[in-house]
């Protein structure tokens, strides 16, 4: 419970030392402001990266490989036996996912997801005497558009044109620049089996990722099967889920059922995601350091006030103010510094975020955006405020408690 007279005394103490009050408030507000700005950048880029990861690639990919080599029957028979087999030759196995059409249907039905069978392979695209190695994806264009953001990345032509053009191919801007390929040009595509097919450029995309833009091309699944000489074979099933956060769970479920190696987007991008954890740890330790420095400012001003006001404290106590009232008076000062610092800090933070948002960058590569990705979320303001208030109250507590332990007799006797 706050007594109005205690609030009045606390405010009087603060307003009578405006410069010191201002300095300690500035400490807090800069801490809060920088936290908001840095956090907006960190969270913004994290969000941006995650969105790019989630949207630009399937959430779950089933591959035609296995995590563990198959166990020899001998070892199955004697699980505990001290056995060793020498000269085992791996079986020549036709790669590919068995009955991919059935599996696609089953996944779509069971998980309410979009699934698409894909055949991948390496080809060489040759045009005007230059050639480049490209990994092609044989896809179903209708599904691919739903699975990834490829349609948004198209700068010329579209994916649907693959269906209407015979031997159509969609390439990235990187490849189109390197080989000076334009929409409508006919390029030679050389497959590993030696087959050469003249394919027509029906679309050009820019994913904002150099690797993809220079090294990936899309064709129809059936064209890929012809190129690779793998009729009726797909080597990946790519799945987009209604909820990307379910990816790990569903991937492990599918892997258990069919034993094909099945990767979630989190597994594929594990190193990226663990980077975020480290970044956040850095962010919060820096902000904590700023707030600790700011709270020293508050501690300093309130300690000084308590030292200088010992007589006033003594007289208030002799009048009948309790230790509780005295503690409250000084805690209120810390709280007020925290609140004012917080509000100013919000303004500083908002200003910084807007200033950062107005900066234009000319960046090539992964960040294709010309502006910093910023998260203008409200919760950073809340966390910043919590930091400020906790720091202020903790810093004020020690001198406030000391003030409440003043023994009026000692001071009044000393003054007389």
């Amino acid at each position: 419970m706050f007594r109005w007279v205690n609030i009045q005394i606390a405010l009087a103490h603060l307003t009578h030392r405006r410069r010191q009050t201002l300095v300690s408030v500035l400490g807090v507000s800069l801490g809060v402001g920088f936290f908001i700005a840095v956090s907006a950048m960190m969270q913004g880029s994290e969000q941006d990266l995650t969105d790019k990861l989630i949207n630009s690639q399937p959430h779950v990919t089933i591959k035609d490989e296995f995590r563990n080599p198959s166990v020899q029957p001998l070892f199955q028979a004697y699980e505990e036996g001290a056995l060793s087999l020498k000269g085992v030759k791996p079986r020549e196995r036709l790669r590919g996912i068995k009955d991919y059409k059935g599996k696609v249907e089953q996944i779509e039905r069971e998980e309410n997801a979009i699934a698409s069978a894909v055949l991948t392979g390496q080809v060489i695209v040759r045009y005007g005497g230059k050639d480049r190695s490209v990994s092609i994806l044989g896809v179903d264009p209708d599904k691919e558009v739903e699975l990834t953001t490829i349609e948004e990345d198209m700068i010329e032509g579209d994916m649907a044109a693959l269906k209407t053009t015979s031997d159509g191919i969609v390439i990235g801007t990187g490849l189109s620049n390197r080989l000076q390929l334009q929409l409508g040009d006919l390029a030679s595509v050389v497959s590993p089996t030696g087959l050469v097919v003249r394919m027509k450029i029906v679309g050009i995309f820019r994913a904002g990722n150099v690797l993809l833009d220079e090294g990936r091309a899309y064709v129809l699944l059936k064209d890929a099967q012809v190129l690779m000489n793998k009729p009726n074979i797909a080597d990946q099933i790519r799945i987009r889920l209604p909820d990307p956060n379910m990816a790990i769970e569903i991937a492990s479920k599918i892997e258990k059922r069919w034993t094909y190696r099945t990767e979630s987007w989190q597994e594929v991008n594990e190193d990226f995601l663990s980077l975020f954890v480290v970044r956040n740890a850095i962010l919060y330790s820096i902000v904590s350091a700023i707030m600790i420095v700011a709270s020293f400012g508050i501690f300093n001003i309130i300690s000084t006030v308590v030292m200088e006001k010992r007589r006033d404290i003594a007289i208030l106590m002799s009048m009948g103010f309790r230790a509780y009232d005295i503690r409250q008076i000084f805690l209120l000062q810390g709280f007020a510094l925290g609140i004012i610092g917080m509000l100013l800090g919000w303004a500083v933070g908002y200003g910084l975020v807007e200033a950062l948002g107005s900066i234009k960058f000319e960046l090539e590569g992964f960040y294709d955006d010309s502006r910093l990705p910023l998260d203008r979320g409200f919760y950073q303001y809340v966390i910043g405020a919590a930091f400020a208030l906790i720091a202020a109250i903790v810093a004020a507590w020690i001198p406030a408690h000391r003030a409440s332990q003043v023994r009026p007799v000692e001071i009044i006797r000393g003054a007389a």
Partner: protein, 236 residues
């Protein structure tokens, strides 16, 4: 005074205060006396005789090592720190040698702080009462100034007004004229006499000031922490 026995406001029973230092120091010992309503008592004695120590014990700012202080029938040794604070707020008023006014506040605010802390009156009523007290002490025109704009005598009158805020039954004063010139000492002395006579406020004042001690109804003279004489004042 009428025939019936006057009401006892303050009573001490064998009050002793020893500072627990490595060599214990006895400040006062075996103090027995009582004060009735409307009495103006001066406490005198040589330096170091325990006058101020006794006043702090009577004012419940310090607790006796032995014995009891009974104020308004309340045995104060039974009260904890917060209850003592509340008791001081409601029943006691202090005037010290130094005015101890809060420099950040106006004269009127200084007077109303204890009234507001007690919380029996509204903000407006507290202000009116503070103003009334200042006018009674003829410093109403200074109400909106700050303490550093007033003379020493005026400040001491403000301190008295502040002590009177919650209409205490007992005023405790520690050398209230110690820092004042003769003229201002006389004014303060007259105020105390008037308070005792007209409003029945009990006053206990520690003093070195001969005229002030003489103006009181009764004098308690301390020597070496014990009462040497209790009665009419005798000039040294």
């Amino acid at each position: 005074m009428s025939g019936e026995a006057p009401r006892v406001v303050l009573e001490t029973e064998n009050v002793t205060r020893i500072l627990p230092l490595t060599v214990p120091v006895t400040l006062v010992h075996g103090i027995n006396f009582s004060v009735t309503a409307g009495e103006f008592v001066s406490i005198t004695g040589p330096s170091g005789s325990g006058k101020s120590s006794l006043l702090y014990l009577l004012g419940l700012l310090d607790a006796p090592t032995e014995g009891r202080v009974i104020v308004e029938g309340q045995d104060t040794s039974l009260l904890d720190r917060d209850a003592l604070a509340q008791f001081r707020l409601a029943h006691l008023g202090f005037v010290f040698q130094f005015h101890f006014l809060l420099p950040e506040f106006t004269i009127l605010d200084n007077v109303t702080i204890p009234i507001k802390r007690l919380g029996a009156l509204s903000e407006k009523e507290a202000k009116d009462r503070g103003m009334q007290l200042l006018e009674d002490l003829e410093i109403g025109d200074q109400a909106l100034k700050h303490p550093d704009q007033l003379s020493g005598g005026q400040r001491q009158r403000v301190a008295i007004a502040r002590a009177l805020g919650n209409a205490p039954t007992l005023i405790l004063a520690d050398e209230p004229t110690g820092n004042l010139d003769t003229k201002n000492s006389d004014i303060v002395c007259d105020i105390f006499v008037r308070l005792a006579k007209e409003q029945g406020t009990t006053i206990i004042a520690v003093t070195h000031d001969v005229d002030f001690a003489e103006a009181a109804d009764r004098n308690v003279h301390l020597v070496d922490g014990a009462i040497a004489r209790d009665g009419a004042y005798q000039r040294p």
